[in-house]
Amino acid sequence: MASTIRIRAVADGDTTVVQALVQHPMDSGFVKDAQGNFIPPHYIEVMEFAHAGKTVFTAFWGPAVAKDPYIKFSFKGAQKGEDLTVSWVDNKGAADSLVGKVQ
């Protein structure tokens, strides 16, 4: 099964710019389906990026974040070729992770 995470991390000197796209319904729980029933909440609660064993970015998401979320941030201290681990956990306990390389 293909990963839900797409990542691109580009090092420019000391700074690495990270972009990620995550495939997830991010249902808020407030939307009704065609029959008029609420679609239960189903969203990522925590998204984490780690490099060299240390967490470099943590995102606490919730129902306000839209479907298939996109995130971009930068951090210092990574070199080209090193690993960047991305992982998420949602409110149903499902999770996914991916290890990408800094380019």
Binding site: A2, R6, R8, Q19, A20, L21, Q23, A66, K67, D68, Y70, K72
Partner: protein
Amino acid sequence: MIRAMSLAIALSYLWRAVAFAGEPVNPDADFKAFRDYFTKRFPKVSLNDFVNGPYSMDADLRKQWEEIDAFPPYQFAVDKGKEMFETPFRNGKTYGDCFPNRGIGIRQNYPYFDTKSGEVITLDVAINQCRAANGEQPFDYNKDDMAALTAYMAYTSRGKPFDIKIPDDPRALAAYQKGEQYFYTRRGQLNFSCASCHVQNPGRHIRTEVLAPALGIMAALPIYRSEWGGMGTTSRRLTSCNSQVRAVPLEPEDELYRDVEYYLSYMSNGLPVSGPGARP
């Protein structure tokens, strides 16, 4: 009473047929006038940029789009579409067997006028014809599978110039003209035509949306619309446009929808395929 009304309707169809016959149809003159209208109105927009719709009209919107384009929201649909495209039907054949060039890099040739059946065939219709010919159920024209498959096929044509042909056949000219008529006809309780927004007001806002120019408007389809939270095809856009002006939509891929796609695609000849696209 009803009989008199039916007669009136029948007569109006006859009148319409006569009016068609009387109108000289000149697609090449239309093409030139259409192009000049937009390039003169937007002299700072390069010709090929018109295919980017609202992003060619609004700098701030463009910046946001360029940011998102690193990881475009249609990416998942393209990947799914590629997988679908390469998966054989139950009878062992594939989509490649139905299309020229194995179905790769052909989006810019659609729609075309099929002289055998006497109607306009869009890519979506051709896909369902392929499926039917191979014993498979047709896809819903508005989203999901059809959108994913056409997203992949459009992606393989990125940058290729539209090459829509009108064969020397009065039926093709009639289809072209019906499409032109549909485009400029006001409809719905709000009394808008497609032209009201996309010819008279490109670059301006309708509520929070920036209107796209009609030139190149077919080039980015299918699109991931943030408003939809997902992919949608030409059919999805045309039917939703209709309901937005309070007109009851036609069936997806109705003859008139195919005709208007034919007309608009012909007007975009030479412009590059930019699909699949991402829109607000």
